[in-house]
C-alpha cells in the first residue's frame, strides 16, 4: 500500500533533473537490511522517495515499468522492449515461427514498405523531452525470399503492437493474434531479416533512458542511477545518461549525508570484534569497518576508502542503520 502520497503542482515528470536543493533531504525509505543497492536484481525493491503522484497513477506507472523491465525467469521469453507507436509497421508471428524460429521464408509479405531500406536510427530524445517512453525505431519487414538471419526471440517479439497504451502484452497474445484474419494489414509478416544487434541496442537504450527518467521523476534515484550507469556501459557516448547519473549521485549523496549528520563525527564500531563476523556484510563494508580505529571521522573514511564517495556514504549509512557503527564527537 502506498502511504503519504502527496499531490504535487506538476505531476508530469520532467526529463530535466530538478535541482538537488528542491529535494527533501529527510526522505525515508524501508531499507532492507543487507540490501545490495548495486544489485540490478534488487532494483525494484528500492524506493528512495515517496512519489509525488496520485496513487493510481503511481501504481500504474510502477506496474508498467516493472512489466517492461522484469528479469525473466528461466524458460520464459525475454522482456519486451517498448512498443513503437501504432503507426509503425507491424510484424506479427505465427505460433510456429514464434516457437520454432524456422528459417524458411514466411508467406509473401504484403507490407507496402517491405522492401524499404532500414529506417535511420532515431535520435535519443533531447534533454527537455518529456519522460514518456520514446517511440521505438520503425521496423523493417522482410524482403521476399530472404530467409530470416538467426532471429532471436527479442527481435521477433517486437511484432506485438496491439496494446493501445503501448504496453507490451505477454507472448500468449501473439498466438491469439495469429488466429485472426490473415488479411489484416496489422498481421502482415515481414520477410526482412531481423534488425541488427546495433539496432536492437539503440532501442534498448531508448527504453532504458525512458525508464531512467521515469524513476528519476518518481524519486527512485538509486534505480535511475543503476540504469544510467548501465546505459553508459553500453553506450558511453550517450548525452543524457551522464547528466542523470551525476544528478542522481548528487541527490543521493545529499540524502545519505543528511542521514549520517555531520561528517566530522568520529566513528566507532558498536559491535564487539568477535561478533563482527556473524553480521551480514560484504567485503566492502568489512573494509570500511577495518578503517575504523576510534579516532577516524566519517569524512576521513570517505577520503581514504578508495571507493566512490556515494558508495562509501551508502555503506556507512547502512552500517549505522544496522547499528554496526556509532557516531559521536
Amino acid at each position: 500500500m502506498i502511504k503519504n502520497v502527496r499531490p504535487r503542482p506538476n505531476s508530469r515528470p520532467s526529463s530535466a533533473p530538478p535541482p538537488p536543493a528542491s529535494l527533501e533531504p529527510t526522505w525515508d525509505d524501508e531499507t532492507v537490511p543487507g540490501l545490495d543497492l548495486d544489485d540490478p536484481l534488487n532494483e525494484f525493491d528500492r524506493v528512495t522517495a515517496i512519489p509525488d503522484l496520485p496513487s493510481e497513477q503511481y501504481v500504474k506507472s510502477v506496474m508498467a515499468t516493472a512489466e517492461d523491465s522484469r528479469v525473466p525467469a528461466p524458460g520464459t521469453p525475454p522482456p519486451r522492449p517498448p512498443a513503437p507507436p501504432p503507426s509503425a509497421p507491424v510484424h506479427v508471428l505465427s505460433p510456429d515461427e514464434y516457437f520454432s524460429l524456422d528459417s524458411d521464408p514466411p508467406a509473401a509479405p504484403r507490407s507496402a514498405d517491405s522492401t524499404a531500406p532500414y529506417a535511420a536510427i532515431p535520435p535519443i530524445p533531447p534533454n527537455n523531452a518529456p519522460t514518456a517512453r520514446p517511440p521505438a525505431p520503425p521496423l523493417k519487414t522482410r524482403s521476399p525470399g530472404v530467409p530470416p538471419q538467426s532471429p532471436s526471440l527479442t527481435g521477433l517479439e517486437l511484432a506485438d503492437l496491439d496494446s493501445p497504451d503501448g504496453v507490451s502484452a505477454p507472448p500468449q497474445k501473439s498466438r491469439e493474434q495469429s488466429r485472426l484474419d490473415p488479411r489484416d494489414p496489422l498481421l502482415e509478416l515481414s520477410s526482412d531479416p531481423p534488425p541488427p544487434a546495433a539496432f536492437r541496442e539503440v532501442a534498448a537504450t531508448a527504453s532504458a533512458i525512458a525508464d531512467m527518467k521515469d524513476r528519476y521523476a518518481m524519486g527512485d534515484f538509486s534505480g535511475a542511477l543503476v540504469i544510467a550507469e548501465k546505459v553508459l556501459e553500453t553506450n558511453p557516448e550517450d548525452l543524457e545518461a551522464p547528466r542523470y547519473a551525476q544528478s542522481c549521485r548528487d541527490v543521493l549523496t545529499q540524502m545519505y549525508s543528511a542521514r549520517l549528520g555531520s561528517l566530522d563525527q568520529r566513528v566507532e564500531v558498536a559491535v564487539p570484534s568477535d561478533q563482527i563476523r556473524w553480521l551480514t556484510l560484504d567485503h566492502r563494508a568489512g573494509f570500511l569497518l577495518s578503517l575504523i580505529d576510534g579516532g577516524i571521522t566519517v569524512d576521513q573514511i570517505l577520503d581514504i576508502s578508495g571507493m566512490p564517495r556515494l558508495d562509501a556514504l551508502r555503506i556507512m549509512y547502512q552500517l549505522l542503520d544496522q547499528r554496526v557503527i556509532s557516531l559521536g564527537n
Binding site: 545490495d36 560484504d282 578508495g306
Partner: protein, 607 residues
Amino acid sequence: MERVIGIDLGTTNSCVAILEGDTPVVIPNRGGYKTTPSVVAVTEAGKRLVGHIAKRQAITNAENTVYAAKRLIGRKWNSPQVKNAIMTSSYTIVEGPHADVRIKLRDKTYSVPEISSMVLQEMKIVAEDYLGEPVKKAVVTVPAYFNDNQRQATKDAGAIAGLDVIRIINEPTAASLAYGYGKDMDRTVAVYDLGGGTFDISILEIGAHGVFKVISTTGDTFLGGEDFDARIIDWLVTGFQDEHGIDLRQDRMALQRLRDAAEKAKCELSGVRETEINLPFIISTGRNEALHLQRTLARPTLEKLTEDLVERTVDICKQALTDAKLDVGEIEDVILVGGMTRMPAVQTAVTGYFGREPNKSVHPDEVVAMGAAIQGAALVQDRQDMILLDVTPHALGIMTFGSYFEELIPQNTTVPTSRTKVFTTSRDDQTAVKILVMQGESKRADENELLGEFILTGLRRAPKGHVEIEVTFEINTDGIVSVHAKDMENGQAQSIQVTATSGLTQDEIKNMMTNAEDYLVERRVDEHFEAAKQDAETLISEIERLFPEIERVVGSADFGRDAIAKARTTVERTRAAINSKDTTLVKEQVDQLSRTQRMFKGVVSRG
C-alpha cells in the same frame, strides 16, 4: 629564545623533537603517535592527506600516494635509483624541466622537495600545536651517504615548508649525539639503523669535546620493515589461497587490510609469543557470501619467514667494518635505531655478530629526532661544546686518465677548507684539459657523482707528463665548492663554482613556498571553522535535548514561549552559519548558544 625543532625526515616515518630544558622531548602528533608516516596522497576530491591517514589508503589509492620520496630527493632523472623507482613505484614519476624528478598526483605535477616539504610542514604543524607558537627554525637529519645535491634538496624542502633549516646533520651522527648526550665519552660505536624502508649501518668515532666522525657508512635502500611485512602478507595470502582458492592480492581493499594487519602483527610479536590476525569479510565470493581470514602467527614462524632479511643486515654490517678497517671487537657499543630493531630476532642477530648486547638506553624510533633537537638547541644557544662541525659528507676530487677518481678533499673534512694538487697532461701535444669535478668515495669516477666540468685551454704543446696543471679545491663556509685549474708554466687559468642544487630554481622554490603558505592558511581556517562548528553542534544537541523539559517547566507562560522561540531561532541561525561556512558567525552563535544553554539549565534545575 627562539625554539629550534629537530626533524628526523625518514624514508617511511618522520619524527619531530624539541629540547625542553635539558631534556629532548619527542612531540606526538594529533593521533597521539610519536612518528608520522612520510606518506603524502591526494584524494579523488583533491584533498591532500599526509601521515597515517595517507598511509591507510596507500593501496586503495596507490597511483596518487607517494611513499619513500626520500629515495628520489636530489636525484637526477637519469640516475639508476630513479630508473629503479620508476619500475617499482605505483605513482607516476616524470622528468622535470631541469633533468630533475617530478611526481604526478591526479592532475598536478610536484617536485620531490615539494612532496617532502608536505611531510616537513606536517611536522612543523605538530610542533606548533604542541608549543602553541610558530616555529621557524629546524635541524633536519639525512642519511650519511646523501650527497650535496640531496642535502640541498632537503634544505629546499624545508624552505618550501616555511622552515629555515639551520643545519643538516647525518642520521647516525644525530643518533650518536642523543646517545652520548650528557656523557663525556670517547669511543667507537656502530649505529645499526633498520627502518621501515632502508637499512643503514654506520661506524662512528665519538671523541671528547663533541667530535662525531663517521668512519664508514653503508646500507641497503631497499631493505626495511616493509620487507618483513611483505613476508607476512605472502604467508597470509598463500594460506588463504590454499584454503579457498582465491588470491587476495587481486583485491586492493583486501591487500590494504593485509598490509595493515601484517604490520600490526609484526609489531605485536616483538612483545608477545603469538598473535591472532582476524580480518572478517576480507573478500566476497558472490552474492551475500563473504569470506573471513583468521590465522594465528607465532613468533618462531615470523622469524623463519624473515630469517634471510636479518642475515642480510649482518652481511652489510661486515662490509661497514671492512670499509672502516676495523675489527668487530673494536666496536665498543651498538646503538639501535628504527622500529624494526625491536624485533627480538634482530637484536639476537646484532648481539651475535658484534659479540655484545646492543645499547638500549635510547628509543630506536626517537633517537635521531632527539639528536637533531639537541643540535638545534646547541646552535641557537651557541654551546660550542655540543656543536657538530660541518664536514664534507663525501670526498671531492677530479677524474683522471683511465676514468679514475683522484681525491683532493677527503670525506669528513671540516669546512671551510682548501686543497691543491698538481696534475700533468696524459697525451703528447695536449693543448686542452677537461676537469671533471666529482664527489664520492669510489676509485672509479663513473661510480661517483659528477658535480660539474670545465675546460682549461691554451696549454703548451709538449710530450705527455711535461705540462703541469695545478688544481685547487676550495669549500667556503656556505658549502660552495670552487675549483681552479692553472697551467703552472704560462699562468693560463680557468675555474668553476659548484653549488649544490635540488633541481629547482629560486623562482620555483618561491612559488612553492607561496603555495605551501596558502595551503597552511587554508588549513588553519578550516581547523578554526571545524572547532567552532563542533562547539556549536555540541551546544545545539544539548539545547535540543533540553527543549521538552523547558517546555514542560515554563508551560504556557509568555516569557517561556518567547525564550523557546528565541532559542529555536538561535539554533536555526547557527545551522545556517555552519552551512555558509562562516567561522566568525558560527563563533558568535556559539556565544549565544552558550548563554541559552546556561539559561535553560538554570530553569530546568529550578523547575
